[in-house]
Symmetry: C2
């Protein structure tokens, strides 16, 4: 059984995705969970608390996934493949949340904004290092590692359009096609 607090966070993620954080009001949110706006404050402290939870929960998923990938001892190529899977799984499992995470983090207040940007920068650096290793070993094409990094990172930002509940078969097909394009694109001709 979901707690009311959980329901509030889930509906908030949907609402923030649809209207954006700033345009989404606490009255909108209250309507969706059949409460008056003031009653929301029995469950949460402030509107921004919801944004913080969405942003840092997602950041945590990415960081934990990166931890696993780094420990795996795989080749750079297999690591990139695993990271593409990680991004796609997160994007499909929590599509509204990931959209808010991608687009609305700018509305975090300090010190949370700085903390968030630090987490993101660390993740990007770890991803870039893997790409650089692949380039150094000749497996990956000789491109600017930052260009490759952001091309991969942003190429999945449409995935939430794709989401339909319980579509396990499509998920594997989607992963196969996306990986085919991006990983083959990254591979050198050798």
């Amino acid at each position: 059984m979901k707690t009311k607090k959980q329901v509030i966070f889930e509906e908030a993620a949907k609402l923030f995705q649809e209207k954006g954080y700033s345009a989404a009001s606490m009255r909108d949110l209250a309507d969706r969970v059949n409460l008056k706006a003031s009653s929301l404050y029995s469950h949460i402290k402030a509107k921004e608390e919801i944004l913080q939870k969405i942003c840092f929960d997602n950041a945590s998923h990415f960081t934990q996934g990166m931890d696993t990938v780094e420990k795996s001892g795989q080749s750079p190529e297999e690591k990139v493949r695993a990271l593409l899977r990680l991004h796609l799984e997160i994007a499909l499992d929590d599509p509204t949340s990931i959209t808010v995470f991608n687009d609305e983090w700018k509305h975090l207040e300090e010190p949370h904004l700085t903390r968030f940007l630090n987490l993101r920068r660390d993740y990007e650096n770890r991803f870039r290092t893997i790409i650089q290793e692949g380039i150094a070993s000749g497996v990956f094409r000789s491109v600017d590692p930052t260009v490759a990094l952001f091309t991969l990172l942003s190429s999945l930002r449409w995935i939430h359009y794709w989401h339909r509940p319980s579509r396990k078969i499509d998920r594997e097909a989607l992963l196969r096609d996306v990986t085919a394009i991006l990983l083959n694109g990254l591979r050198s001709g050798k």
Copy 2:
């Protein structure tokens, strides 16, 4: 010489990028152009007029670029290459505007919202057709054309981070690397 109206539109694009359309107030904008908020209304009719201009100017650039590409009589592969260049040129020439175009169109009011979504859908359909032709002729990898389409479309959504004024050399290097990854990724092994 720039008219005051032009300056207002340019500063608005920057402001909307930084804070998002909803969080950016007319008083914020007025401060940036050294006016009082009420004076803005001597130059524009409403806040949403600015958003409309940004969205539809960008849409027009993409549509005109697609017109040229379709008329070129090139192969699907060369057409995709030209479209990647089109996206990158637009993204680098007007980076704040393109960010607003990508993320803030949802705040358009009807009937502009529907008109915008129709333009976008038409553009996507024309792009998808080119990809399908490439797949049919065996030049492109056999993937879901919609997956390929959105992977390409979203892959440049980080470009505004890259922007520095007058960086013509980097522009060609950037285009070369992005094209190398995405076009080689799309190509079949044959």
